[in-house]
């Protein structure tokens, strides 16, 4: 019986490439991984947005309007709805001059109770150090 921590580190811009979307869809797929594992075993994902990756967390995506696809905003909200740990790098948010109220911090509109956290990079470093495996996207 074990829990393995998987750290998804999102560094890529939204919509430019598929990386950030795949990071989130893979993290969300942790909800069904038990079908492949022994009883009591599971994985625990943490999603960390750093560098350009913090731009994925801006509110107001218009992906359905412009591309006809689900938005990364919705994926972030789904992650929060599922109580995944979502960390956003404070220094990178500040570097872009982004205010907290411009970021997707919760999924209250769809019933989520977990919030994203804006944390110093040192906290993200700790999350990465405590992960069993890191997946840079």
């Amino acid at each position: 019986m074990a829990i393995k921590k998987l750290g998804f580190v999102v560094r890529t811009l939204p919509y430019k490439i598929e990386g950030s979307r795949l990071a989130m869809t893979h993290a969300i797929s942790s909800q069904t991984v038990e079908i492949y594992l022994e009883d009591g075993d599971n994985v625990e994902p943490v999603v960390c947005f750093i560098g350009d990756g913090v731009l994925n967390c801006l509110k107001g995506h218009q992906a359905m309007k412009h591309y006809g696809i689900t938005s990364l905003e919705q994926h972030i909200k789904n992650s929060l709805l599922l109580d995944l740990n979502v960390l956003i790098c404070k220094e990178d948010v500040e570097r872009f001059g982004i205010k907290e109220d411009a970021l997707i911090m919760d999924a209250a509109d769809i019933g989520g109770e977990t919030n994203a956290k804006i944390v110093p990079y040192s906290e993200i470093q700790k999350a990465m150090e405590s992960a069993d495996h890191l997946l840079f996207c």
Binding site: A2, K4, L6, T12, I17, E18, G19, L22, T25, H26, S29, S30, Q31, T32, V33, I35, Y36, L37, D41, V43, P45, H133, L134, L135, F136, C137
Partner: protein, 120 residues
């Protein structure tokens, strides 16, 4: 001997990252390790059967089949990513599995090391 899980998002043609992932898999298998290679996003292109070998383009199908034949190498395509690109089950090369994304996380669970190659 250990188990290595590699994930790749990079396309077969247009990036050399998938070539690297397969070469690394080969090196690990030759050393007696087990390797799971997960292909997601554009990397699912590798699962398409009927690839023609040109010397100007990466051609990994033959190497993949040789690795699968060792019994120490599993290669799996993300089913949704493949279907989104029009790669149907019937288009999948022999030895290539198709699963949902949780297969990759389960493979990572039991891996000694995970090397994730994000890519394009």
């Amino acid at each position: 001997m250990g188990k290595l899980t590699i994930g790749s998002f990079s396309s077969l043609v247009g990036s050399m990252s998938l070539d690297f992932a397969v070469k690394l898999s080969e090196a690990a298998v030759q050393k007696g390790h087990k390797v799971d290679l997960w292909t997601s996003g554009n990397a699912t292109m590798l699962s398409k059967k009927g690839q023609k070998a040109f010397k100007d383009y990466s051609h990994l199908a033959k190497k993949v089949q040789e690795l699968v034949a060792t019994g120490n190498f599993q290669i799996t395509a993300c089913e949704a990513c493949a279907e989104a690109r029009g790669y149907k089950k019937d288009d999948t090369m022999e030895g290539f599995q198709r699963h949902s994304m949780d297969w990759y996380l389960a493979s990572a669970f039991s891996a000694d090391r995970v090397l994730h190659i994000g890519g394009d």
